[in-house]
Symmetry: C2
Subunit: 395 residues, 2 copies
């Protein structure tokens, strides 16, 4: 576990018995100062009461604590579930002497069961008593579900002559898809920045990271990306459109992209990390749509697993994605090996393409031949292990 | 193999060496009389030259022969591929003494390779010499790719006091999705009916059958549904809006639905046949969209395979399908076992729901609680076998 610290933030992760395995399942994150907050939530219409409660919290722009349980998503639990989410916040508020509406709740795990609130309360008592600036790793572990490894990232940059620190943790190994699907990420910084400046930055960074990865195309009820900034770096508050803003946004984006690719690398059953790069589209929206269609196709993903440069499956998805393409101008390449030129298969490059696919990571580059816009998304392959995990495990 | 006959139609299926396995790979269908024809083709923008050629043919409304090869899709083959499709028709025309533009070509199999035209020509010579009214089964076999069994259906009805016969064959075991995806179906009848009456009937019947099934959500370059009617039953020509039209359409729809469900039952690796029934939607379009989203979700399909009544995954798809729903009014049932009532999980019914899922076939019934429209689609589960077939086999 890391002992990386962000000034003014404390963490804890404990096992309170929500998970049958006895693994850590409750995390508390505490900001000694009320912190500026920005958040993105799932776009799924069916939202966990924890998300609904979190959305309420974000009407104010400062938070002081986050409480996350894993093992139970507190979703499809009705009004009782909403009370449970509020009670989690109240318990944390009581223990840390902060207002309950400065505490944001998150839940992840099985859908359709009420939280075991006695265990949750005991866990909160234990976690709040253990808070430590060095326990980021424990918190990262306590938010895991089917993840095999905790995902932690940190970075530093200089803003107005001051050193600014950012750290983040994330979880989510399946059900990952555009728009914050079954994924939790919490990012902390000591930067001085206002909420109106931070919010659009977080959205753009998410579009380049968590919103550009997919495992199986499904969106969850509980996804949350939260960024807290407590100002302790004492930099001049970052203003929109300045060089400082660009530096901070670049650092934040890189950190979030690292976390996002970490989720993919740990995705259920994944053996390959593949960038789908679409160029020559009419619009970025079109490029993303084709890229996600390829990235989510079961037939394409099983071909990745089989290390088979199956251009037919890719062409079928390109032509069927609902975006206008020029069939006679479509190009497809695996890394630098072109396999389709002007809509026609280049049969002779098959061996070379297969060699590219033997790598753990490669890029599929698709030209639509109709415009100048481009976009990348990242995906993984569909393996035997994915089916095993998802037919045997309950999410 | 069946020896079922449709007056005036002859069939042949031979092995000409396109498939390495030595299995049958070339079919010819011959109508002794020029037959009224209606066809539906893939909506994929990237179309096989065979489909482009077939679309040309349909500018006239009578056909006399169909030639289908399996093992090679003649797709992504450029202008040369188009010439090959035309040459197939010319060869059949020559052998059967019909105009080449009364011959419709189809191809299915591997994408991105030119057809071995010498083998194809020899196959056409052999097949046209073997034509027989009793060889429908040979033709059904010769159009198969990863299919395990040929799909054949037949039906009869009475129109204007005359017995009218319909028969059909179909193929397609993967890449099946809405709008004619990687699927070929040919339906023959001795009915007297005009093209303007037949065409909308075929479209509606397809919406209830081939357009209401899905295996993996991908659409192919080659899909074709063709219906030929030669008039030999000598019924009074079927007119739009009459009781006769209703009888014929009902029989045609039932036959096509039987073929479509046959494709699903034989789908790659499938162990379950599941109806996704969506009710209470604002529009039929909305209902179909939610039903297809559930039917195509890898997470839902692996849960079907695992016989796990995982309501979380279904709820996530319902809420994320891009269709307005009333989260507090959503209902989900497995056959008669309700597992979500008014948006809240009914925890006590889990055992009963799991028992329903042990059946080879069951229905998932979803209420969106927002309107009165409904639609059904049919899907299968996602098994280990699906991944094995699609990571090892080249389509």
């Amino acid at each position: 576990m890391t002992s990386f610290q962000v000034p003014g933030f404390q963490f804890a992760g404990v096992a309170c018995g929500i998970k049958e395995s006895g693994n850590k399942d409750l995390a508390v994150i505490f900001s000694e100062q009320p912190a500026v907050a920005a958040a993105l939530f799932t776009t799924n219409q069916i939202k966990s009461p924890a998300v609904l409660c979190g959305m309420e919290r974000m009407k104010k722009s400062r938070l002081q604590a986050v409480v996350v349980n894993s093992g139970n998503a507190n979703a499809c639990t009705g009004p009782g579930g909403f009370k449970d989410a509020e009670a989690m916040c109240a318990e944390v508020g009581l223990r840390l002497d902060v207002q309950k509406d400065r505490v944001l709740p998150s839940s992840t795990g099985i859908i359709g069961m009420r939280l075991p609130m006695d265990k949750v309360r005991a866990g909160i008592a234990e976690a709040t008593a253990q808070l430590s600036p060095e326990a980021l790793g424990d918190a990262a572990e306590a938010i895991m579900t089917t993840d095999r490894v905790p995902k932690i990232a940190h970075a530093q940059c200089r803003i107005g002559g001051r050193r600014v620190t950012i750290a983040g943790i994330a979880k989510g190994a399946g059900m990952i898809a555009p728009n914050m699907a079954t994924m939790l990420a919490y990012v902390f910084s000591d930067a001085a920045i206002s909420a109106p400046v931070l919010k659009p930055m977080l959205r753009r960074a998410a579009d380049q990271s968590f919103n550009a990865i997919t495992v199986d195309g499904d969106c969850s009820t509980n996804d949350t990306v939260l960024c807290l900034a407590n100002g302790l770096a004492r930099n001049p508050s970052i203003r929109r459109g300045t060089a400082d803003a660009a530096v901070f946004e670049r650092t934040l984006t890189k950190l979030m992209k690292g976390l996002a690719l970490g989720l993919l690398e740990d995705a259920e059953g994944a053996t390959k990390l593949v960038e789908i790069r679409v160029e020559g589209a009419r619009t970025v929206r079109d490029a993303r749509r084709v890229a996600f269609a390829v990235a989510n196709s079961s037939l394409v993903k099983t071909a990745f697993f089989g290390e088979d440069p199956n251009i037919g499956r890719i062409m079928v998805v390109i032509g069927g994605a609902g975006v206008r393409v020029a069939p006679d101008a479509v190009e497809v390449a695996f890394d630098r090996v072109k396999v389709v030129r002007r809509g026609v298969a280049v049969g002779t490059r098959e061996q070379d393409a297969a060699a590219v696919m033997k790598q753990r990571s490669f890029r599929v580059r698709i030209g639509l031949g109709i415009g100048r816009a481009a976009a990348s998304v990242w995906t993984c392959d569909l393996s035997h292990e994915y089916v095993r995990i998802n037919s045997e495990y309950r999410t």
